[in-house]
């Protein structure tokens, strides 16, 4: 570069900086100083604070932070389940991002981490930034109304995500062909159930449940008057697989004598087979009087309960997914599962169901649930999710329905209608001006 070519006193960069007259782009009213006149008296401190909050530079920084957290939240899914990641990265104020994720999975350090604002914090500040910007520069013109609508729609969408994150309930309904079910299981919520059976009436069973989050720390003890024994946690596994126990320990009882549970990593969010975690745990049990009852293994993989006898009373104990009954019943008449000829690619899976709801007097014999055709009933949606197979013949013998209740489901629809109109107005206006200017030339 020939330095002498630069005029003294007017560095080239300076020239570039001052010449912004061309850059009065469409939408520029959102520029923080768009309506500021240079010779105004000093502003009120509140106005100054609002100006700061409304600054577009803040917006851009927030966008950059949002991109980073979304990107890291994607990479993190190679090692963790999608909902673990969502809660850790997006539905929180702060997150410690492991160095492995920070460095794009290039290094293997999962111990050290850097703090970073989480999704809800970034989203919250964005909301403040947006509201402040509109408060500072409210003006009703065609072009502004487009921007206003876009932003209003985005606020609705973000609120919708907050509502979904807070209130959405997901579960599964598993029905074998020819059988009926009214229970929805929630694989995300595990509990230890202690059931004292009533001799005559199932409805009078006495059931105590302990949620899994109280059982996750090794060494934790549960002592409660409602529980007939003292539980001391030895090991809790988020996911496990069973193998035969060749050399059972002396104090091992029940299932633990036959099987050994091996911890498995959490099902990764990027697993294409969409499995779910199967927790298990080893506990030491003892009576309140201090009599040792040995070490027990509870596994959510095997549906059977184990019986524990204390003072001649029998208790059924089971680690299970939370189950909730519905006031109506699904009867699976038939399940079909077709693949493309000569391949394993699923072509169609289809549940033929009879829905019986005595309370509301409903008896529909013609319900069909299949891919892209869910059933909506009583505020819940039932989607064809998967199927069960016979362990011997490997043939499909039952259906797995995804059950979702989401009070915020309408919000995205409202939001995109608003944003859509806003974008049409805004970009339509931009396009119109663009073509207009071209025509004039």
């Amino acid at each position: 570069m020939d330095h002498t070519a630069i005029q003294p006193g007017v560095p080239a960069a300076k020239v570039a900086e001052t010449a912004i007259q061309d850059g009065a782009p469409p939408g520029s009213p959102l520029h923080p100083d768009a309506h500021a006149s240079p010779r105004r008296a000093p502003r009120h401190p509140i106005v100054q604070a609002l100006m700061l909050l409304a600054d577009l530079r803040l917006t851009v920084v927030l966008f950059a932070l949002a991109m980073l957290i979304v990107f890291w939240g994607t990479l993190a899914q190679t090692d963790a389940g999608v909902w673990t990641v969502v809660n850790k990265y997006f539905r929180c104020a702060f997150v410690w991002v492991p160095l492995k994720v920070v460095c794009f999975n290039a290094i293997d350090n999962t111990v050290d981490a850097i703090p970073f604002p989480g999704g809800w914090l970034i989203g919250g500040v964005m909301l403040v930034n947006l509201l402040a910007a509109h408060a500072m520069r409210f003006k009703l013109t065609w072009n502004r109304s487009g921007i206003f609508l876009i932003h209003a729609g985005l606020i609705v969408m973000m609120l919708g995500e907050v509502i979904t994150g807070t209130y959405q309930i997901e579960g599964q309904m598993v029905i074998r062909e020819g059988q009926s079910s009214n229970t929805v299981i929630h694989p995300g919520q595990t509990e230890l159930a202690i059931i004292q059976r009533d001799k005559d009436d199932v409805a009078k069973d006495h059931v105590v449940t302990i949620p899994a989050r109280m059982l996750q720390t090794p060494g934790a003890t549960i002592e409660d008057s409602q529980v007939p024994f003292i539980i001391e946690v030895v090991e809790y596994m988020v996911n496990h697989k069973l193998k035969f126990n060749r050399r059972p320990g002396k104090d091992q009882r029940g299932l633990a004598r036959e099987f050994e549970a091996l911890p498995q990593p959490e099902v990764s969010g990027v697993d294409p087979n969409q499995k779910f975690d199967l927790p298990a745990m080893y506990v030491k049990l003892s009576t309140p009087e201090g009599k040792k009852l040995g070490t027990w293994l509870f596994s959510s993989d095997l549906g059977d309960s184990q019986w524990i006898t204390i003072k001649d009373k029998q208790y059924q104990v089971r680690l299970r997914f939370k189950e909730l009954a519905r006031p109506y019943t699904f009867h699976l008449k038939k399940f079909t599962h077709d693949v493309f000829p000569g391949t394993n690619t699923p072509k169609d899976f289809h549940s033929y169901i009879r829905l019986i709801d005595t309370k509301n007097g409903v008896d529909r014999d013609d319900v069909e649930i299949y891919m892209n055709a869910p059933l909506y009933y009583e505020g819940e949606t039932f989607y064809q999710s998967s199927w069960t197979t016979d362990p011997i013949t490997h043939k499909a013998n039952g259906t797995v329905l995804q059950v979702v209740r989401n009070p915020g489901w309408l919000m995205p629809y409202i939001s995109c209608a608003i944003v859509g109109i806003g974008m049409l107005i805004h970009f339509g206006h931009t396009l119109y001006r663009f073509v207009d200017r071209r025509m004039v030339r």
């Binding site: 570039a16 061309d22 959102l30 851009v60 991109m67 979304v70 990107f71 294409p272 690619t345 989401n406």
Partner: protein, 613 residues
């Protein structure tokens, strides 16, 4: 007057003429020489492979393409259709196969398939394993491999696992290059073995007219004895078996007349009942032979180069560019027609994108389309270069992807809905397209500004306005596309937003474009800044388009490709480097260097003003 008119339109006419002739030559139907084996006719036979009913020609061509990366068979005697290779494989029985060794004694003796040099081995470790010396073309025959076959088998077992000895299979994610290449060679050898085994290709129609067809091997078990005793029942599947057996036996004994006769009489019957649509078979064969996307790739490549050099001849620049525009437009017509033919073949109206391959083809189409429009508004030729370059690059990517098999594979049940494929997928892919076009315009800005004088005066502002327009379109399309995806997800499996990697990728594009637009509205970036940010947008978009597939993820992971992650990273580093070039101080840019008269129009004194750069 007329003369000047002619002069004005001559370049465009010549360009259209040359391009049309190029397309026309490739459109001609391929026919067989009379008296020879009727390979083209053999290609018309309907089979079911990969779940789809298709002509034998597609099967032969895609499999040969996988093995050798060529769509035709090169032998010493000349070039033959892929169908010849498939026939040779079918009639060269596996060593020790009693059934087909007895059926094709001449084929077993000649063992043509063993001698064909079709298996590509480029990796030097694999070559060393097989004790082969590198040769031009890197294509080897089974005879070449055979002496070291036990060693190869051993290496394969170490990669793919061996149940009898308890060696677990390696996770494809942890493959080293050598592992991948061994597995690949094994897969290629398997294609021959499967063809010779006759146990996978569904060629025998079901007599009940359904799509549950059977293989030649199964049919032989059922009808073999009856055929020997000349007592074949009068059923479509028995007839098909008899036909294939006669045909293949004739082929292996070099009985051309018998082969052709069998073909003629069988094709005259309705082979598979109402399932087969002969028009469709014909269209697919035409489509395969025409290879429209490959031809467009060639045309775009040439146009990009010619348009790129058009500025070297200032007196002719405009005319050359008009010619380029015309050729580009004609290629665009062929490009879109190819996609329409695909829709017809797949029975999916308005569904442009069904897999990663077609997304590349469609992004190319979109890039060319956007640039054809931009050139109407800004007659400066930049859009021609950008459009044809992006079209060329995306079609190269598509071509690479097509090497791994049939590009019209069947779709998973959950994706099998034409409405959402036509709306969500099309629009989101157009969103990617805009981001790419904007990015390449950014590259054009950086290179033209750095090395030429073209961004002086109005040039800079004009190119930025073009980029800005494409970015706005990109914002609109990727937002709408992403939201439609959310609505599909809500409708199909109960959540609007699942934080799935592909969804996140789309969200990243939306945020990135929003960031650029807000930075511009806030005056934080101007013309040069928009160019640099748009180039980085290519990196973001390529992550969403390709990168998320490498995580092996969820419902969107339809396109996992071995080793491609590294390529993607390298390409992205290249774009980041270009964006870095854009940060060179403006006084070093040719276009913005002060005190230098423009070579085009010496204005004497009036210093070019880098307005709002």
């Amino acid at each position: 007057m007329n003369k000047t008119r002619l002069q004005q339109y001559l370049p465009a006419l010549i360009a259209v003429g040359v391009t049309a002739i190029y397309f026309g030559i490739n459109m001609r139907p391929r026919s067989d020489a009379s008296g020879e084996f009727q390979y083209a006719k053999f290609g018309r036979l309907a089979v079911i492979d990969g779940g789809r009913l298709k002509p034998m020609q597609t099967v032969a061509q895609t499999k040969l393409m996988i093995v050798t990366h060529r769509s035709a068979l090169s032998e010493k005697e000349g070039t033959f259709p892929a169908a010849k290779w498939l026939l040779d494989c079918m009639t060269t029985p596996l060593p020790g196969d009693p059934i087909f060794s007895a059926m094709f004694p001449d084929g077993a003796e000649a063992a043509v398939a063993f001698k064909q040099e079709v298996f590509r081995i480029e990796n030097d470790q694999v070559l060393r394993l097989l004790k082969l010396t590198p040769r031009s073309g890197y294509r080897y025959s089974i005879v070449d491999i055979a002496p070291r076959y036990p060693e190869l088998e051993q290496a394969v077992k170490e990669v793919l696992g061996d149940e009898t000895r308890g060696i677990p299979a390696k996770d494809p994610k942890n493959y080293k290059l050598y592992d991948a290449k061994v597995a690949e060679l094994w897969q290629h050898l398997n294609l021959y073995m499967k063809a010779a085994h006759h146990g996978t290709l569904l060629v025998i129609p079901n007599p009940d007219g359904s799509d549950q067809w059977t293989t030649f091997r199964d049919a032989h078990a059922k009808f073999g004895d009856a055929f020997d005793q000349d007592q074949l029942p009068d059923a479509p599947d028995a007839k098909a078996y008899g036909f294939y057996r006669t045909l293949l036996v004739a082929y292996q004994s070099k009985d051309k007349a018998g082969f052709n006769r069998a073909l003629d009489s069988y094709l005259a019957t309705s082979q598979g009942g109402g399932l087969i649509n002969p028009t469709k078979i014909g269209v697919e064969i035409f489509f395969n032979n025409f290879a429209p996307f490959y031809l467009c790739l060639v045309v775009y490549g040439f146009v990009a180069v010619i348009a790129g050099f058009s500025w070297l001849a200032p007196a002719w620049t405009r005319q050359i560019q008009q010619g380029c525009y015309a050729a580009m437009a004609l290629a665009f017509v062929v490009h879109i027609s190819g996609l329409v033919l695909r829709m017809y073949l797949q029975d999916r109206l308005f569904v442009f994108v069904t897999n990663l391959y077609s997304s590349a083809v469609f992004i190319g189409l979109g890039c060319v389309f956007f640039c054809l429009i931009a050139e109407v508004f800004y007659k400066n030729g930049i859009a021609i270069v950008v459009g044809t370059t992006t079209g060329f690059c995306t079609l190269i990517i598509a071509h690479m992807l097509s090497l791994s098999g049939d590009t019209m594979e069947m779709m998973q049940a959950v994706l099998d809905t034409n409405f959402w494929l036509a709306t969500h997928v099309t629009i989101i892919t157009l969103g990617y397209t805009s981001a790419f076009v904007a990015g390449f315009m950014g590259i054009a800005y950086i290179f033209l500004g750095l090395f030429t004088n073209m961004l002086r005066k109005e040039g800079s502002a004009e190119l930025t306005r073009m980029t800005y327009g494409v970015l706005c379109a990109g914002m609109f399309l990727s937002f709408v596309g992403t939201v439609l995806g959310g609505l599909w997800a809500d409708y199909s499996w109960g959540r609007f937003w699942g934080w799935d990697p592909k969804e996140n990728g789309a969200l990243l594009i939306v945020i990135w474009i929003a960031l650029i637009l807000h930075a511009r509205w806030g005056g934080m970036v101007k013309q040069r800044g928009i160019a640099v940010l748009s180039v980085l947008g290519i990196v973001v978009t390529s992550w969403s388009w390709f990168g998320t597939n490498f995580l092996g993820v969820g419902l969107h992971s339809y396109g996992f490709r071995q080793g491609a992650m590294m390529t993607l990273i390298l390409i992205d580093l290249g774009f980041i480097a270009i964006a870095g070039l854009g940060l060179i101080p403006l006084e070093h840019w040719t276009s913005f260097r002060p005190h230098e008269p423009t070579p085009f129009k010496p204005t004497g004194g009036a210093r070019p003003k880098p307005a709002g750069v």
